[in-house]
């Protein structure tokens, strides 16, 4: 089949790239572009104008790329006609190309104010390489530049021309700059900072005329109030208009842009359209993140997979002026039913405003310190209830969260680091490696940087730093998270949608789920299969047959795989209590199987290292005979209940913490969880068992038991929140079971209690576990049902013959 792309820009070519990934052989592709260049990164024209990057650096796909993919490229040719009946397009030089599918991506053009003199020499828009060339040339010969329009593009143009040595005035009709992206206080700070760089601002001025000079070139801008300013160069940056003329002439329905549906199809089903020329649900987007989302969906349909839908994008704004950080998204102006939280430090040039509605973040406007922009955007997108930490919200993620993004100072710190500085401590990736990979391999997203460099691909704690480098290297828009986050590349659905479908549609096997939810791969991947296996197990505990091949090796082999391929084995010691006989049994096993190293774990258990996989069944038979069950020290499961000595021995102890710990572990052991789950019981507020950094921690006091939830040690320590206080051990057990079951039923796979709690809010959990006794009981009962099938010692089952084959070699050929 033949595919013709009209418009050789970012949206169109991105669609081709996605299409070539999905169906490399499906089409003969022809591309028309009216500029004489191959595809380049239009976003980076501002840094080129400012002299911070060169044209060569911003080329995304050079001519060799088109050739390598068998694409016929016509540059410098403008398509002037679409013949929908005979299915061909024709360019201004008469070149024709036939199509089976046509993709329109003509982008937009700058809106030129209809004032006298708008066609004079020296008047340009700010749209393409030719405009930038004109501006650069003018900057070397002339002095006075006037930019009409104080929006993002206008300010970037003004900044660039100033950097090239011109005297620059910005004319703006509104009372403050960037009135669509910023509120007045933030805009004032921005204006002050730009004025310090030497820019001049003429606000609330309406342009009446561009005055012709003696040479025929523009010489001044005259306003409606009669005043005028000298101008040798006028840049029109008052807005963009989607390029719809070609589509309209072909009879395609256009409103503000070419009208498309959720599959990016125009009113002619053979013709698709993406990018700035498009109107989707009444919105024409001018930022890159939505265009890339459109490209992905459009490519999916062109590849005849027919599964994706574009449902619109939520956008955020950043300004690409070096040294100036601003960010805004959503409804940042507030209004009826909204509350505003504002932080202002004019001396430091910092301003933050968050708009809340119904306990959710509805908008954000940041100036000066924007590191948390991505996080605020995520909270808005996910509709997270923020009532539990609204007092800390303004100070950013690292003041509350688990995922360790750096603070504002860290951003300037990372940008000033030398290239040799290590950013990712897990994988030893330096700043220079990351920046080089982003530049050389044209990486756009955090996921791509992770794939190519491994930076932030392990523990994730340097994600904020990597995002900062990404934004600084390629422009802020790229790091914007997508408006909806699918579980993995095999599906368009989110974790929550999948869980809902499993229960509502009674999906009870992996193939059922994949069929019902249009999985793109025949048997999923190593991200979705373990998640689905867990969701099914959680939803149908008595019916679902666990799929061993969808579990990570640790859960299949019931041991923890080590770097040399051997395993470590941890027998369960309930509450950390043990007897001489048990210790003797462990010692005997260790000697018999020549265990090279033993260690006491952080969770008060004994770890036997260096066990060969084929020895596992025999070793567990001996442990099993001595009365041990598996410690699940390897799994997304209940790990350990750590205890202190308690009232039985300790002179400070208020309750029997060890006894309670044993009861809790007997209740909960064996349960599979979205992620690992740790408990602790401390016998007094001195808290020797460190219960306040556990998923569920009990702190005994003289009058009863405090229940704490949502803590963890690890990458970013999070201290628990107090769930409630209860009077008896029976209540501790009941609340614990209910809390665990709520977590099991609601959290995403691989989401620990800390980020889950932050996502849904402590009030959400209290309402279901503390305030609603009937629901608490129902949750605890569901947990009990699930435990009936879960509390089967995997080792007993294994040594009894089930599936032992996996542990022996298939053949020994020596």
């Amino acid at each position: 089949m033949k595919l013709v792309l009209v418009g050789n820009g970012m949206a169109g070519v991105r669609t081709l790239e996605e299409l070539l990934k999905a169906a490399p052989e499906l089409y003969d592709i022809t591309v028309f572009g009216d500029e004489p260049h191959p595809n380049y990164n239009r976003i980076m024209l501002s840094p080129v104008l400012a002299g911070e990057q060169t044209l060569e650096q911003i080329v995304l796909n050079d001519r060799a790329w088109y050739a390598a993919n068998g694409i016929t490229l016509h540059t410098g040719k403008r398509v002037v006609k679409i013949d929908r009946k005979h299915r061909f397009v024709e360019a201004d030089d008469g070149t024709r190309a036939e199509y089976d599918r046509l993709l329109l991506a003509m982008g937009s053009k700058p809106f030129i104010l209809p004032v006298p003199g708008a066609d004079l020499e020296g008047v340009v828009g700010f749209r393409d390489i030719a405009d930038v060339d004109t501006m650069i040339q003018a900057s070397s010969r002339y002095k006075h530049a006037v930019v009409i329009g104080g929006g993002l593009l206008g300010l970037e143009a003004a900044n660039g021309l100033k950097a090239r040595g011109m005297e620059v005035s910005v004319v703006h009709i509104a009372p403050w700059l960037l009135e669509r992206q910023m509120d007045e206080p933030a805009a004032r700070l921005l204006q002050k900072s730009l004025e310090e760089r030497g820019l001049k601002f003429l606000l609330q001025r309406q342009t009446a005329e561009l005055v012709r000079g003696e040479s025929g070139r523009v010489c001044a801008v005259k306003f409606k109030d009669g005043e005028s300013v000298p101008a040798d160069l006028v840049v029109m940056a008052v807005g963009i208009r989607p390029n719809t003329a070609l589509a309209e002439s072909a009879g395609l329905r256009c409103e503000r842009g070419i009208v498309v549906n959720d599959t990016l199809q125009t009113f002619d089903p053979r013709i698709y359209a993406v990018g700035e020329c498009v109107s989707h649900r009444g919105i024409a987007y001018g930022l890159v993140a939505p265009l890339f989302e459109q490209a992905k969906v459009c490519a999916n349909h062109l590849a005849e997979h027919g599964m994706a839908r574009y449902q619109g994008s939520m956008t955020s704004t950043k300004l690409k002026v070096t040294g100036i950080d601003l960010f805004s998204a959503g409804n940042f102006m507030g209004g009826e039913g909204c509350e505003e939280i504002v932080f202002q430090d004019p001396g430091r040039g910092a301003y933050k405003k968050l708009v809340l509605k119904d306990n959710k973040l509805a908008g954000a406007c940041l100036y000066g310190d924007t590191l948390d922009g991505a996080w605020y955007f995520e909270l808005m997108r996910d509709g997270t209830d923020v009532s539990d930490y609204r007092d800390k919200l303004l100070f950013g993620r690292h003041h509350i969260g688990d995922s360790g993004a750096g603070g504002g100072d860290e951003k300037s710190r990372v940008l000033s680091l030398p290239d040799s500085a290590e950013i990712c401590g897990c994988n030893g990736v330096c700043k220079g490696d990351i920046v080089a990979a982003i530049r050389d391999k044209k990486l756009f997203t955090l996921d791509e940087v992770r794939a190519h460099t491994k930076a932030s691909a392990s523990c994730g704690s340097c994600t904020g730093l990597v995002e900062t480098l990404l934004a600084a290297t390629v422009g802020g828009d790229y790091s914007t998270p997508p408006s909806k986050k699918p579980m993995c590349g095999c599906t368009e659905h989110t974790h929550d949608e999948i869980r809902a479908a499993i229960t509502e549609q009674h999906l009870k096997t992996l193939p059922d789920v994949m069929r019902a939810l249009d999985w793109k791969t025949p048997d999923g991947c190593n991200k979705c299969r373990p998640a689905l296996n867990y969701y099914l197990l959680c939803a149908w505990p008595t019916e679902y047959v666990d799929d061993a091949q969808s579990r990570f090796i640790n859960e299949r082999a019931h041991g923890n795989i080590q770097k040399d391929g051997s395993f470590s084995v941890v027998p369960r010691l309930f509450g950390g209590l043990c007897t001489p006989a048990e210790l003797r049994a462990i010692a005997n096993v260790a000697e018999k199987f020549k265990v090279p190293e033993m260690k006491i774990t952080g969770g008060q258990r004994i770890d036997l290292f260096g066990v060969k996989k084929e020895d596992l069944p025999a070793m567990w038979k001996d442990l099993s005979d001595a009365g041990f069950v598996s410690g699940h020290a390897y799994g997304k499961a209940l790990r350990t209940v750590k205890t202190c000595v308690g009232a039985k021995w300790c002179r400070f102890g208020t309750q029997d913490s060890t006894g309670l710990g044993v009861k809790l572990e007997e209740l909960t052991w064996g349960s599979w969880m979205p992620h690992k789950f740790k408990l602790a019981v401390s016998g007094c507020p001195r808290n020797c068992a460190e219960a306040t950094i556990k998923d569920f921690g009990v702190v005994c006091v003289d009058s009863g038991y405090e229940l704490h939830v949502g803590g963890n040690g690890g990458i970013k320590v999070r201290v628990t929140d107090l769930l409630c206080k209860v009077d008896s051990e029976e209540e501790v057990l009941a609340y614990c079971a209910a809390f665990i079951q709520l977590y099991r039923e609601e959290a995403h796979y691989l989401e620990r209690t800390a980020p889950w709690l932050e996502r849904v809010g402590l009030n959400h959990i209290k309402a279901r576990v503390v305030e609603d006794a009937a629901n608490r009981q129902a949750l605890a009962e569901r947990f009990a049902i699930s435990q009936r099938t879960a509390q089967v010692d995997p080792w007993k089952a294994r040594t009894a013959g089930e599936l032992t084959k996996e542990f022996a070699p298939m053949a020994v050929l020596v």
């Binding site: 025949p522 048997d523 991947c525 190593n526 990570f552 090796i553 795989i561 084959k805 070699p809 053949a811």
Partner: protein, 115 residues
């Protein structure tokens, strides 16, 4: 005898390898992982990830790929090559299934340094 014909050694019935899984064959030159995909195709690779030597036989198999259990590199079962952008290769061994029985050759295919 045709010199190009591999020397086949029978290692057992296909059903002994779990679908979407693998089994290990021990040899004097090291372990070989024998994989079975969801579509019952069988592949054999040296049981060492080109990254840090992780046992590929212990990874999760999906499509024609296995994810190394140590650091999640993806290796293509049919080529032995690491999936881009990672680079590296696990040696491939000829393998065939006849009448439900799996046979293996201990001479790896040419072209991969990780023998």
């Amino acid at each position: 005898m045709n010199m190009n014909e591999p020397h086949w050694i029978e290692i057992g019935p296909l059903q002994d390898i779990p679908r979407r899984g693998a089994r290990v064959v021990k040899t004097a030159a090291g372990d070989i992982a024998v994989f079975r995909t969801v579509e019952d195709e069988v592949f054999a690779l040296r049981d060492q990830c080109p990254h840090k030597g992780g046992p590929l036989s212990q990874g999760i198999v999906s499509g024609k790929r296995v994810a190394c259990p140590l650091h999640d590199w993806k290796i293509s079962l049919d080529t032995g090559l690491a999936v881009a952008p990672d680079q590296g290769c696990a040696a491939r061994y000829p393998v065939r299934v006849r009448e439900g029985r799996v046979s293996l050759s201990l001479t790896p295919d040419e072209g991969c340094p990780n023998h």
